[in-house]
């Protein structure tokens, strides 16, 4: 289904279009949430709320301001970040790292079949220390770039260029996986 057709269907509240959207994007969107929120139940709850919000707020999505996936991923990421700030979540979640993520589900046979653990490790290859730090904080700990700048005393411009560099490495890796 073309993206335009899909969006039209979503605006018409079509169940078929909604199901199609779910099939196509739920894995990636759930990934965005569960990277940041390690607790499976809370992650599922946040994902549930985010997806419902996406369907309900589809009218406010503006194609001219970016692609559908980016808009949805931002909703999920922001919901997850908001959750980590709430009292519901213990501070321990902020210690989430790539390694926790990879080894966490490797040791959890329940989810092992759902996650491409080897792929994730390959994806993180070649990140230098700075880039590893950036990915840890932005992708897994739900930091914003300005929070990293403030909390760790790294100039904002440096954070920006490290975000760029780190994502470039992931982009290169994902292309070769």
């Amino acid at each position: 289904m073309e993206e335009q057709e899909l969006i039209a269907g979503l605006r018409a509240k079509s169940r078929k279009s909604t199901e199609y959207l779910y099939e196509k994007y739920s894995r990636a969107l759930f990934g965005v949430v569960s990277r940041i929120i390690f607790d499976k139940d809370i992650a599922e709850e946040v994902f549930h709320d985010s997806f419902v919000k996406i369907i309900q707020k589809i009218e406010s999505y503006d194609e001219s301001k970016g692609r559908l996936y980016t808009w949805m991923a931002n909703i999920c990421r922001n919901s997850a970040i908001d959750k980590t700030r709430s009292k519901e979540i213990s501070q321990s979640n902020k210690t989430n790292t790539i390694d926790d993520f990879v080894y966490g589900f490797e040791s959890n046979s329940d989810t092992l079949d759902q996650v491409n653990a080897i792929g994730v490790k390959e994806l993180m290859n070649d990140l230098n220390e700075d880039q590893h730090f950036i990915i840890d904080h932005i992708y897994f700990k739900g930091y914003t770039h300005s929070e990293i700048s403030e909390e760790f005393g790294i100039p904002l411009g440096t954070v920006k260029s490290r975000v760029r560099a780190a994502i470039q490495v992931l982009k290169k890796n994902i292309d070769s996986i």
């Binding site: 894995r27 369907i55 760029r164």
Partner: protein, 273 residues
């Protein structure tokens, strides 16, 4: 504006992470509109980020899916017209006999085919006309070219003869005569090859009934060796062969020339030196 610097600034990544202010987002959108390189980079980054999320993601359990669709149940509309991957063309179709639709389709095809036939026939006719015109033009040009070629060959021939032959120049003048004081004709004679050419420098135009005639005067008296075209000035005209002559002269004779020169109408005369 340094596009490359903008691309590498990290701003696009923050845009995709949803970390820019409303104002900054608008800026990125307008930059991407203006510069295709930025749009391209943005598209590639979006693809990569989706692929990364997909790879690092996990499929949510069926239970969560059920829960989500339960929550949305009241809002979603069950309709069969839109299916994933299929254009919404279904709906109520009034059944008609298939022959009718075939007949309609066939007549549409027939009309289209006729229109196409007429169109191409007129195109063909037009092209054929053009082709015929071109052929005619081409044959005229070929004729012209042939004439030019003949003229050229003739000139070259004459030039060859002049260069290779043993020609002497005899100047025929009208000064001493009463007809045309300023008349002047150059005559080139190769005695051994018996060839004579003349080039008219100046001769008055004659009326239709008369011709200029060239005479070679030798031991046997004047012999007519051809008519002179006074209009062909400064061009070589080949005359009849003559082997022996002491004097050349041109007279005005009745149209077609005479057996013997009309001496009172002598125009130019010149002696072989």
């Amino acid at each position: 504006m340094d596009i490359q610097a903008y691309i590498t600034s990290g701003k696009l990544e923050l845009y995709l992470l949803g970390e820019l202010s409303e104002l900054e987002r608008a800026e990125v959108v307008s930059m991407a509109d203006k510069f295709p390189e930025i749009q391209k980079e943005l598209d590639e980054l979006e693809d990569a980020i989706f692929a990364i999320d997909e790879l690092t993601g996990k499929t949510p359990s069926l239970a969560i899916k059920t829960k989500i669709f339960d929550s949305l149940n009241l809002e979603l509309i069950e309709e069969k017209t839109i299916k994933p991957g299929m254009a919404p063309v279904e709906g109520k179709v009034v059944p008609i006999s298939p022959w009718k639709s075939f007949a309609v389709a066939a007549s549409i095809v027939a009309v289209l085919a006729s229109a196409a036939a007429i169109f191409y026939a007129s195109k063909f006719y037009e092209k054929e006309q053009q082709f015929t015109a071109l052929l005619q033009e081409q044959s005229v040009m070929a004729g012209n070219l042939n004439q030019v070629k003949l003229d050229f060959e003739q000139n070259e021939n004459q030039l060859d003869k002049l260069l290779t032959g043993d020609f002497r120049l005899v100047k025929l003048k009208g000064e001493s005569l009463n007809m045309q004081k300023d008349a002047s004709v150059n005559l080139f004679w190769d005695q051994s090859a018996k060839e004579v050419f003349i080039a008219v420098n100046n001769l008055n135009e004659l009326s239709e009934e008369f011709d200029y005639q060239l005479w070679a005067i030798g031991d046997e008296g004047p012999i007519g060796i051809g008519l002179v075209n006074e209009g062909m000035k400064m061009t070589l005209q080949q005359m009849q062969a003559v082997a022996q002559a002491g004097t050349f002269a041109i007279t005005i004779e009745p149209k077609g020339g005479s057996e013997a020169p009309t001496l009172d109408k002598l125009v130019v005369i010149g002696n072989v030196a």
